[in-house]
Amino acid sequence: MNNKKKDTEEVRLMKGNEAIAHAAIRCGCDGYFGYPITPQSEIMETLMELEPWNTTGMVVLQAESETASINMVYGGAGCGKKSMTSSSSPGVSLMQEGISYLAGAELPAVIVNVMRGGPGLGTIQPSQADYFQTVKGGGHGDYKMITLAPASVQEMADHTVMAFDLAFKYLTPVMILADGVIGQMMEKVVLPPFQPRLTEEEIKIKCPWATLGKPANRKPNYIYSLQLEAEEMEDLNLRLQSRYRTIEKNEVLFEEFDCEDAEYLIVAFGTSARVCQKAVEMARAQGIKAGLLRPITLFPFPTEQISHYANQTKGMLTVEMSAGQMVEDVRLAVNGRVPVEFYGRMGGIVPSPDDVFEALKKLIVK
């Protein structure tokens, strides 16, 4: 949430959605495939305005549907190309088939979900109600998706770069799970430095599995997720699960505010975490030792860190713009040692710091 960057770097003012577009071009993204939906349309609009095909050679294409977009991402990813799409909740629902296939085919890809309220067509107002869909697997089959939860425009840019790095490191789809507030609000941002797109020779070394055309001296590369033999299917399942355990071990990210001596811990991500940071300040001003833990990765979840605070605190409050989804993972981490309460708003309503502070006093500090 802090924009601590060197004074020498150029500071720009832009929307979170725009920051993703700029960061994608700068980090050497090869292809963006998308379909318009509020509140994330500025991502594709910005790309179309910047025309990166004239500079870096990046392909930008407006597809006929989210189904087509995610499958274009699959096609690009299968060639070892840095491929991404973005959408908002109803569109991401439509992409679930493709996400499952990406996971099954072990392909690197970046998907941005700028969440809005649901279910159904819902509302264009911000929401965090796609947590379950994202971290519990919205598509079919046993898979997980690394999930980054930006809480600032700066993180929208930074997470775009990081998402591609993680996707290629672990050969898995990576979700940037933002919400309508982060997508639409304007903040200061320092954009990442330009990295050239990989050449085909570089891709051949980095992604020997990529379908770039079969030279005489290698076997053909196949991108597929079909395993008709039960043992082969289980082999893939085990390989994926082992990779997920490695991800859980190595890639957990979170941020803490005033947690060292906290007696009451708030857990919140994204926009909710920004609100909760203010609520913690209000609590501290009244002598209540509150702290905030903000998961940056939702999968892998900061289970260990939350478990650690279960030994030190008297209670926890999870705040989300949903009916309460992440709270289940907080409770699993706490495992009954301290009360874990929930406060949330739905329908596209962002809770105020006062609301959160009242909830903290009412639910936890009894």
């Binding site: 292809g31 977009s69 690009g76 060639c79």
Partner: protein, 253 residues
């Protein structure tokens, strides 16, 4: 001269193309898929394009196409092959990119992807196997199933009130400005196999020339699904499929 004298590499006139792998194909005896795979293997070999080709396999009987042709392949979700091909061709514009799809894949679940790839004029070739039935899942009705034709989900024959009309999607695709070559062929005789080979070769050449989307529909048999012998299936196809899906070029610019 004895047979053994004739069987000599110097006298060779026809052999399995090297691009077609040695592994046996899983297709039923007499299935048209095998002929088309063989033709694709011949063409890629003759064009010298093995290193430059990326095939997109569908869901359906041809889901295992990647096992049979010695090129790089991506296997798509059901109906999504044209979306994959779009991205692959745009990211690798100097490659030959083709999809291989059945009628259920291309004309039912993937209709949107097919039409929009064609309408954008993606520089890809689409090989469309139309046998009027879902073969892989056990002979269910497809959008291309003929009036009165029996399938496992139209056991008393397809009727318009219940199932609507057979979909001539190739005719529809020929109307789109993005397509440059739309043709309907078959592979049941020597002459038709030769014509289909020429058609697929032209479609591949168009892909490399950037002329737009080419579609080669091959009216095919599914003798298992049709519950006929391979030879009787060919006869049935000529008598019943060809009137509904007449052979020839629908567009060539």
């Amino acid at each position: 001269m004895t047979t053994n004298d004739i069987i000599n590499p110097a006298n060779l006139v026809y052999a399995k193309p090297s691009v077609l792998n040695d592994v046996p194909m899983h297709y039923c005896p007499g299935c048209t898929h095998g002929v088309i795979h063989k033709l694709i293997g011949e063409i890629i070999g003759e064009m010298g394009f093995q290193e430059k080709t990326i095939g997109i396999a569908p869901v359906g009987c041809a889901v295992f196409a990647y096992k049979y042709l010695d090129i790089d392949w991506q296997q798509a979700a059901h109906g999504r092959a044209p979306a994959l091909a779009t991205a692959v061709k745009r990211l690798l514009p100097d490659r030959l990119v083709f999809t291989y799809q059945g009628d259920g894949d291309l004309a039912a679940i993937g209709t949107a992807e097919t039409i929009h790839a064609c309408n954008r004029g993606e520089n890809i070739a689409i090989i469309f196997i139309n046998n009027g039935i879902y073969g892989m899942t056990g002979g269910q009705m497809a959008p291309t199933t003929l009036h009165g034709m029996k399938s496992s989900t139209s056991p008393n024959g397809r009727t318009v009130p219940l199932n609507g009309y057979p979909l001539d999607i190739t005719k529809l695709l020929a109307q789109l400005d993005g397509t440059c070559y739309v043709t309907r062929q078959s592979a049941h005789t020597v002459a038709s196999v030769r014509k289909t080979k020429k058609a697929i070769q032209k479609a591949f050449e168009n892909s490399m020339l950037g002329k737009g989307t080419s579609i080669v529909e091959v009216v095919s048999t599914c003798n298992s699904g049709w519950k006929l012998s391979p030879a009787d299936s060919n006869t049935w196809m000529v008598e019943n499929m060809f009137p509904a899906y007449p052979l020839g070029d629908l567009k060539d610019i």
